[in-house]
Symmetry: C2
Subunit: 402 residues, 2 copies
């Protein structure tokens, strides 16, 4: 068997943790399996690098930021290789140049295009554990790139796909995917299995265990993905195309408190305005979510949508810059609204799910200001003050608790 194991920054933050991770890999290796390890930068080292760069300039060029960032994972892999040697097991560390981890050319947010597997195969054939830098790649200009948030997960899944690995295990500081964030919902329960699609919706909606890009890739290439804890031996959660355990109506409840709502008031009720509006934002790479458009009255309408908190300022500035062309009268901003979502492949065949959620919120006296749905999720926008109470109530209502 060939197993790819990925350890995040907290799982290699110090000597003790490096050795703990090393031992897990060695256990697998000693069963006769081939082991490829993907590592992130240690603990908060990436933050330290950011601080160093900011000390030099408030606008570091992205190419040079990536050149700086990539040292983080290189330190991790070198130290991990040393730990394995210390434990008597042959290991070799490889960076993005050595693997040949080809990406698109966008610095800071590149996408993997192709991974050469020859070097890794050769090292595995000589019975070494191969330790690869996560998060980083090389573009067509022969420059370092980084993969953006959750990049090391993506590296691990991509390697597992390229090597046709039998499993890809993501070690993290939680021991699996839960029906809800246990810090917010004390009764939350760990899931044994979840579908890629459910996980995608949970990741997008702020469950934060896996970055959606890595889940998309796992789905695309059918990589069997496991999320488990680097601190204990508990089983973790398996991601698959179709789950085989007892089918529940929904798999989880997710909360995103990091959203702001922008209402664009008094837009002329003519074709193309909405397109122009979202085009202006898309050009600045601002993602919008939950869009609501009022029915036209007296020749005008209102368009509301949410953006992530970090994008609010730029979004407002961009819209104001184009006020005339976008024909609106004014903007209204509501900061820190909460997006509460339920996710579950089960709801495709159960039309009553959304209604059940609304009923629960009504019983809790929680006001819903916007609604968005997909095949496997229902999201509502509610007041931040109601968020945690509503989340627990919904979690209970769908019988997700232990």
């Amino acid at each position: 068997m060939l197993i790819v194991k990925k350890f995040g920054g907290t799982s290699v933050a110090d000597k003790e943790k490096i050795f703990r991770a090393a031992n897990r890999c060695i256990e697998e290796y000693q069963k006769g399996n081939d082991v490829v390890v993907v590592l992130s930068a240690m603990g908060k080292f990436t933050d330290e690098l950011v601080a160093m760069a900011r000390d030099i300039t408030d606008k570091p060029p992205k190419r040079e930021m990536d050149m700086l960032f990539t040292v983080g994972e290189q330190m991790s892999v070198a130290l991990m290789a040393m730990a394995m040697h210390k434990l008597g097991v042959p290991a070799v560390s490889l960076n993005a140049f050595q693997v040949a981890m080809h990406t698109t050319s966008t610095y800071g947010n590149a996408r993997l295009k192709r991974i050469d597997t020859e070097r890794i195969r050769n090292e595995l054939d000589s019975r070494k554990i191969v330790i690869v830098t996560g998060f980083q790649g090389v573009n067509k200009y022969d420059d370092y790139t980084t993969l953006g948030r959750g990049g090391s997960d993506t590296t691990a899944v991509a390697l597992a796909a390229a090597l046709r690995a039998d499993a890809c295990e993501i070690y993290t500081d939680v021991d699996g995917v839960y029906t809800a964030d246990p810090r917010l919902v004390p009764k939350a329960r760990k899931l044994k299995e979840i579908t890629y699609d459910e996980m995608l919706d949970l990741a997008t909606l702020g469950a934060g265990v896996l970055h959606n890009r890595s889940v998309e890739m796992a789905k695309k290439y059918g990589v069997p993905l496991v999320v488990r804890s680097s601190m204990n031996d508990s089983e973790g959660t398996v991601l698959k195309e179709v789950t085989t355990v007892e089918r529940m109506l929904i798999s989880g409840v997710a909360l995103d408190r990091d959203a702001d709502r922008i209402a664009v008031i008094g837009v002329k009720d003519e074709p193309g305005i909405a397109f122009k509006l979202f085009d202006v934002l898309a050009k600045k790479n601002i993602n919008v979510d939950i869009i609501l458009q009022s029915i036209g009255r007296e020749g005008t309408k209102d368009i509301s949508f949410t953006v992530q908190d970090g994008d609010l300022e730029e979004a407002v500035a961009e819209l104001e810059k184009h006020q005339e062309r976008l024909t609106f009268q004014k903007l209204q901003v509501e900061k820190r609204v909460a997006k509460l979502s339920i996710v579950g492949a089960g709801m495709m065949s159960n039309p009553g799910v959304a209604a059940k959620m609304f009923e629960c919120l009504y019983n809790q006296n929680v006001n819903i200001s916007m609604i968005a749905t997909s095949e496997i999720r229902v999201t509502v926008l509610i007041q931040e003050k109601d968020a945690e109470r509503a989340m627990n109530a919904v979690h209970d209502a769908f019988g997700l608790a232990d």
Copy 2:
């Protein structure tokens, strides 16, 4: 003109120093020159990396040490590029993979074999300052290597040779090559010029401004080398094949207090013993200096030589292991003896130089226990307690003072 500028670790140790170095490079660039910058790791960062590795294992594999070490220079070059961008000048950082800095395969002590100049030329052609990681290379296995002590100087000289640069400037924390170490000889004077050969002897003998490997390379390829201070604008010292300034008898006085003397007593006076003895040491990579062999008496002789202090223990152990084959009766060790040398291309045509040195030491009542000479230097072994006094006296005797 194409100028290569190399800044050592102390010259890029913090933000202020990075900007100072950046400004020096930009000055050159703004004269219309092409500028290639070679950097070491910041300040004591390499020591920090060593400490991290030692924390993991007391015997880190050399390949992985090099993988770890190379992050140091990569951080320096990325931050330097950011500083130059901040100052409004286009710059690009390159590591050993990006340049294609081919070395032999010995980890920790590789030698440069070939440098591809295409990428650097392209970047220079687009009028960028090119910032290259010193000290590091890539071997035929596509692994990082490091060049050993003084490696960044070697990188700079090699780049200057490969690019046929008009000058290679080594910026350091001293402002040039002196007639003697100013900390020991208060009257020491900075030299305007010095020959490669003189510098080689001074470097070997502990003047410590430039590593001899870089000087050898500069001599071999005729690279015009300048040693100057990163802290002030003073002129520095120029290294050339033949110096053109007023010819002095000697150029400098060097002192090495880091030597130990080993006397191998009672060796059988038969052919091949000396060869066997030094062969035993050479196989352990132990360099010996100043060798003295007594005239044979009663079928035995004594062989004395010096080794660097760090090698003493291993040298003694090796000799004892082979005592029978090497036929000696016992070893005598004298720790911390001082090697005092005078160096000067001028002595080739002036036979009285050695005698003048001995006379001076006699006048100072300094006992000489061993003597070694080459075409351009005379070295004597003296007591450590006499070393500094003797050094100053010799410096005066040859009229080197200000």
